[in-house]
Assembly symmetry: C4
Homo-oligomer: 252 residues x 4
């Protein structure tokens, strides 16, 4: 097996672990999903077949073209909302991983006028501003699911160059330059939401949030070492082995 095959295998194993973590850490219940861009082809991504993240095995992982067509379907049913992933990979060359979830404490910030903003250093990975996308604005009454590339592009436009976007009445989507960072940012977005709800109950909007300068400093100094520290714990809690992030190798 080539070096790249080994690398790809390690990345898919990592993607299974990521799914299990999302289930264990209450970011996803039966719904929500996480993808990685194909490490050898910018026009492909990997995402599970439609299944609860905590049940996913490596054989559930499917390869997709950016438009959402499966490369080798083998009878598996894909997620209806895979277009979230493809549209963002198309618009954001810097993004290597996308998480879509309905984590409970984030939802209130999508259905009220209170913006979610980072107030804890661990949560700066969400960035300064988290826009809110409302499917109703452009598409009217739908089942709220991102069922086409057209809707995916509209969501990607709302995301812009940010790290996360809330989806009204639906959930959120978090993007990152690596899978482990996307998981990290998703867990801590949920934690920030819970703490912001509690802080709001003490003093309304009169909360000291992180400053833009602090957010920049935190993101700048958050090394992969810090992400690994969390990943080790999460992987073990999800009853997966802990493996350091695979070293990237080139496809040739």
């Amino acid at each position: 097996m080539s070096e790249f095959s080994n690398y790809l295998e390690a990345k898919l194993d990592e993607l299974v672990t990521a799914n299990r973590i999302l289930g264990k850490e209450n970011v996803c219940d039966a719904f929500g999903h996480v993808s990685i861009r194909h490490p050898g082809r910018n026009d492909r991504y990997f995402l599970s077949r439609s299944r609860a993240p905590e049940r996913i095995e490596v054989d559930d992982l499917m390869e997709f073209a950016l438009d959402g067509d499966p490369i080798d379907q083998k009878g598996r049913t894909p997620y209806a909302e895979r277009f979230i992933h493809g549209a963002i990979y198309a618009r954001r060359p810097d993004v290597q991983s996308v998480v879509h979830n309905h984590s409970m404490n984030v939802i209130p910030f999508g259905v009220t006028q209170t913006p979610i903003k980072p107030l804890l250093h661990m949560c700066a990975s969400m960035g300064c501003d988290v826009p809110v996308w409302d499917s109703r604005d452009k598409f009217g009454d739908t089942d709220l699911l991102v069922r086409s590339m057209e809707m995916g592009y509209d969501l990607a436009d709302a995301l812009g160059d940010k790290r996360a976007v809330l989806m009204r009445g639906h959930g959120c989507t978090v993007v990152a330059k690596s899978l482990r960072l996307a998981i990290f940012a998703s867990v801590y977005l949920e934690m920030n939401a819970e703490i912001q709800l509690k802080s709001h109950s003490l003093s309304g909007d009169n909360i000291t949030f992180l400053s833009a300068g602090e957010i920049e400093q935190i993101i700048g100094s958050q090394t992969s070492f810090i992400i690994e520290r969390a990943w080790e714990r999460w992987a073990r809690r999800a009853e997966r082995s802990y493996d350091p992030e695979p070293n990237q190798v080139d496809f040739d």
Copy 2:
């Protein structure tokens, strides 16, 4: 064994799993219950003897006439509130399963003037409006339990053609065209309640709920495949095997 006997056996096994799920997912504690209409006779239903849902075995399941009389009691004590089930099956031919529970976050919406309304797409299965039934209106000071067909019918009248009804100071009752959908709607009714409480803490009643059109679209597009995805996860969390929903067969 006839094809129908096999089907019935699979349905009763499914009902055991449904009970365990209600316990595991914090919809029921020691109290609350779930029934299915007899798949071969519209005038009968199956419901456990009086026991905590998470302890129920197949031998606990009893068959009842719609008036609440057990068919073959074998010394087992039925739930005092089985009349909820019989009265709803009598009034609602479309209903194949009924869940009654006291899940914690739903209770506040029965004892205040704030109506519960769906704000998350996963929770549209509760329908647009959830009426509140107060046993005191017609029956005065009681122990709040639905101890007769008369009370059952009064509750069924309050339910009308809806998917759920709150019971003041008591809990709620959720109905559906299938067992798995009744469990699904019960879990997500509780989740909507929790998220609505949190949203209310941010901005009072100034919340963007799902529109009627969105609710209709979501219910229309929620295939059994989606319900299966949740059921697989819940069954495994409750330490039950996962079996796809049995294919209906006719009784002859």
Copy 3:
């Protein structure tokens, strides 16, 4: 062994289970305790040595005179607050079991002016009114612990003929005619507190509580069968065997 010895042994085993349940169901953490009156002597009670409820074994159980003196200490350290139990057994001949705990959601109702009142039928076992005792009123600045019969009697006076009393900045004490009912009432007092906090967040004090007549009806119709249904579940969750409540026998 006499019939009474067997009965007493079963009661002490039940008291171990009660302790484990308090730990498992988050009524007690390392602190809080539960006693039973000696089933053969009104002037004695059984209570564990000073240990976290979820760790207690049968050899930890000690016999006390009502004034708190241990009958056969065997080097074991008693709870500093055993006087809560003795004083209540002295003042309340109807009481056979006492639980003292610091369960989290009950505390706010002891340190604010909002009275806790039953709003869910399962929680009527707390009674119509739950008085609040403040050690500071009579004893000034102390460590808040009930360290003497004098303090115990003052607490018992505040309790009066009620089923529970809150203790400001400290916790609560729940009494009942049986051990299983005392555990039941303690678990559901905590649940009522949590639901009342949530209901209050929706509409302040504008909550529909149970009426006095409803509370009376619920208490009147709550058979031991209902308590057993909860006890079976709790015992198994606490990894204890489930045994029906022992039939009382006379001491001779």
Copy 4:
């Protein structure tokens, strides 16, 4: 092996248990740390290498000079924020253990104007006043981490002679004369925060807190026996053996 070596070994084993407890009791997630002063040298302390507390083994424990230099690094990466520990040991000769954590319910009191104050007797170990330190006051926009002795001393100045200090947008630091008391105070600081948030939701700032006299009495009467009762439970929940606190021996 000398008596002191045995003692030191027991203390390091206790430090591993302390780490596991912080993880199990939700005081720390992947982040936060706990140290002890070297029991034989006031100018040294022990702290794990940079790892999630619930994963820590005895070989992860490193010895540091007060300025944060590792004595025998063996390739291990230290926590970036070890300066919190060294600066406090330098300024506070009475302190034998330091916990730094981000426990969830404490954070709101660092980002709003509502001071955290003890309202439950179990929580008096936090002391009358808990100051809030804001890194921005002196150091401007940083990543909020205490990355130098200068920042550590500034935090230690804010702590003064108190038992805990909140850190705006970051967490808190708790100090004590023993490891077990530092863990105890950290767990109950988090519990006080949760109860204070709930009490505040009932009646704003109109809460009866413990009086200064009560706090003094509670701290004065809180024997090591009480701490042991909690420690036994926590150690077993964290799947560690329970060992009584080692008797101090002198280094010679």
